[in-house]
Amino acid sequence: MTVLAAGRPTRPEIEIPNQAAPEGRGHGLAQDEPLIFELDGWDKTGVDLPEAELDASDLGDLVRTSMIGLPGLSEPETLRHYVRLSQKNHAIDLAMYPLGSCTMKHNPRLNEKMARLPGFADIHPLQPQSTVQGALALMDELAHWLKTLTGMPAVALSPKAGAHGELCGLLAIRAALEARGDARRTVLAPVSAHGTNPATAAMAGYQVVEIAQTDDGRVDIADLASKLGPNVAAVMVTNPNTCGLFERDVMEISRLTHAAGAFFYCDGANFNAIVGRVRPGDLGVDAMHINLHKTFSTPHGGGGPGAGPVVLSAALAPFAPAPWVVSEEEGWRLIERNEGEAAQAFGRLCAFHGQMGMYVRALTYMMSHGSDGLRQVAEDAVLAANYVKARLSGALTAAFPDGPCMHEALFDDTWLEDTGISTLDVAKALIDEGFHPMTMYFPLVVHGAMLIEPTETEPKSEIDRFCDAVLRLAAAAKAGDVARFKGAPFTAPLRRLDETAAARKPRLKWTA
């Protein structure tokens, strides 16, 4: 028996049998938490407000007479409720979050602090421009950084997320084609594309034709050439692509595209891999959205808000939607209507000027890194992914083993053959190891895909800890420890959830 200096035993002197779970809600630090609708808050409030000075008699029967049905909670109860909920989430601040294609990197808190300065957070989109010169200067500065990093002459800032940026790019392309009297009906995109690409093309009024992929995970140039023609408006290619590979023949893709009179749209979701080392403008790109929440680390926030500014070539720039900022002698001016210098703009994407809060965060991040730091970002992100690929390739099967990958390492499920274990099972088992799983079953071109993106903000020790966990699981899979996978996760707040049942009989809100 070991004894502390104070004389107290550190271990019980009797054998303790396993206890049944205690009755109440939760155990240890893990609290079960009901919905707010189940907390008896029907007559509570957590805010103190003054009495209204006047009534609403002027509104007559426009006034609601029915109950809304909203529970309220006092401040301490609200804090507890949402802190308890928060503790059921995995987060980058907790452990590696190698969700491929999502770029889950560290979110600097300086960015949050800057976005909350009253000069940015407490300004109205329609107050006089003379009273928001700093905001307009910031938008202009952000535009300068984005244009310089991409080597492109123009940028439309207002798209609110990557998919919105794709729409912006395609609508600019559509407008440019219409302006030259050349309506075209088709957009080409590889089979490995993000689902947003074909969905956006359809929203922009185009038919989508898939481009085949070569055995080494790139666009099949011969197939592309055979499908290009006078009806093709744009070719949408992600580069680095969703297999984590740089499109070696990107110059040929842009040459063929332009020769056919079409525009080259690049999905910039993976810009993190090349920022500061490659400028898309040098690759012949006509339009590319940049997910500020990926490459420039504005937080993902549990599913947004993001921001998706689109850099544009000179040919597309006139068709960019308002608003944008111009610098003049008297100061900065916001062009917010499609007239005058914006007469050719294709329209308007959203009510105001885009995601200002995200602009502040992204510019803060860029200025912190500087041109040298951003280049290092790409290098470390690519280094980390190749390191993961090297460490895991002996046990897992790399989808494209030859040559380096870019910022993410892609494996298929060949290594699971005959084990009875699926990619989903591996993902769930990783949860028990303390990690967020990799992206699974995407891209669709690789069977049972596992896409791992470590990012540049993981220390080597954490990447090693992750690789060790995956290797342990690989050994367990090969040893036939099927239960460890099929039952996983065992240690998460909940066991595996029945997603089929959820879809079969949707319950989309609480009912009494």
Partner: protein, 448 residues
Amino acid sequence: MRYLPLTPSDRAEMLAVIGAPSIDALFVDVPPAARLAGPVDLPPHQGELEVERAMGRLAARNRPAGAGPFFCGAGAYRHHVPASVDHLIQRSEFLTSYTPYQPEIAQGTLQALFEFQTQVASLTGLPVANASLYDGSTACAEAVMMAARATRRSKAVLSGGLHPHYAEACWTLAHTAGVATQRLAAAVDAEAAVIEAIDADTACVVVQTPNVFGTVTDVSAIAEAAHAAGALLVVVTTEAISYGLLKSPGEMGADIAVAEGQSIGNPLTFGGPYVGLFACREALTRQIPGRLCGETVDAEGKRGFVLTLSTREQHIRREKATSNICTNSGLCALAFTIHMTLLGEAGLRRLAMVNHARARLLQGALAAVPGVEVLTPRFFNELAVRLPKPAAAVVNALAADGIIAGVPVSRLDPGGGMDDVLLVCATETTAHVDIADFAEALTRELAQ
């Protein structure tokens, strides 16, 4: 660089494991002509202090709404957000997580979204709500597209009371898909003209209440007329606090309700990020754009939440998806839900009453200014007034005196013949003295 943990020796060890001679060897697939030899022409990295100073200088060149009398609304509203809201949304587990693709380790986000959907359904008076869209304007455009899909018709009638930016966002999304938008003439009481524009091709009628001029309308008759013609009614609300006082869209017969949710939980931030609310009748569920969170059970039968009905979405359906939306407004939706939970029914009702009362006080004060005519007959917390001078010039003159007088209609709707109309708004943040200062300054300015 403070955000990059790898040391030179880490990098050397990792390269050795990879078997690559250098970092450059990892970029071998980049065409040589496109490889940058060194950093691009931008400033080098800076410490926190330096960046904070630079950003602080930019922020100091903006006049925050809280710095003095402030009366802008027109789609974005200044409200007081309790301190605990911002604290909670900055918790690492909410801030630094992503779309809950792995529900077993994302129950925090998912349960909050389920609460959000329930709150939005209650507020709008409709049975189903989604997990948010980008903002009110894009939610409005998505509603038009959904109505066109559901009715297989190709025309949307947009009321002249619809926020002009919303109308433009609708046109931009709709016309490329072959859906026509018929935008009716702008007028303070524009809803009166909507019914006669409905015809057999009409997929939906889009009506805003309170509208961009502040006018509150009972849209029940429009709902009846739309339904009689086989069309859907989309009700738009840019000021979500108004749900606490006014009849809900669902009560008035709306098929789809969309709203800007910024007022609850989210700061002005120069127009974004905001949060689009989207609710509809049950029959339209499988046409809804964006994420939906649903209830289910885990392997032990315990209740849990997952993203569901994803066969509507781009990552499954690709070009046949109901929308291309992926990342939406998760954290803004969380802020909405937390603020809404703090308010509760009693708090929201009282907050709405205070907003309405302050706007009535503002109306009274401005109506007493010589030359000013109040145009909005029934309002919640904003109204339109006609000035004897161009409104933009008056706003600029008062801004020089430290008073942000509101939004000139000319800023939203050029050429609408309303250059002398000013939109003003009061909320619980508007003090009595602000109203008095505004009326006094306006009296002075108009006398010149």
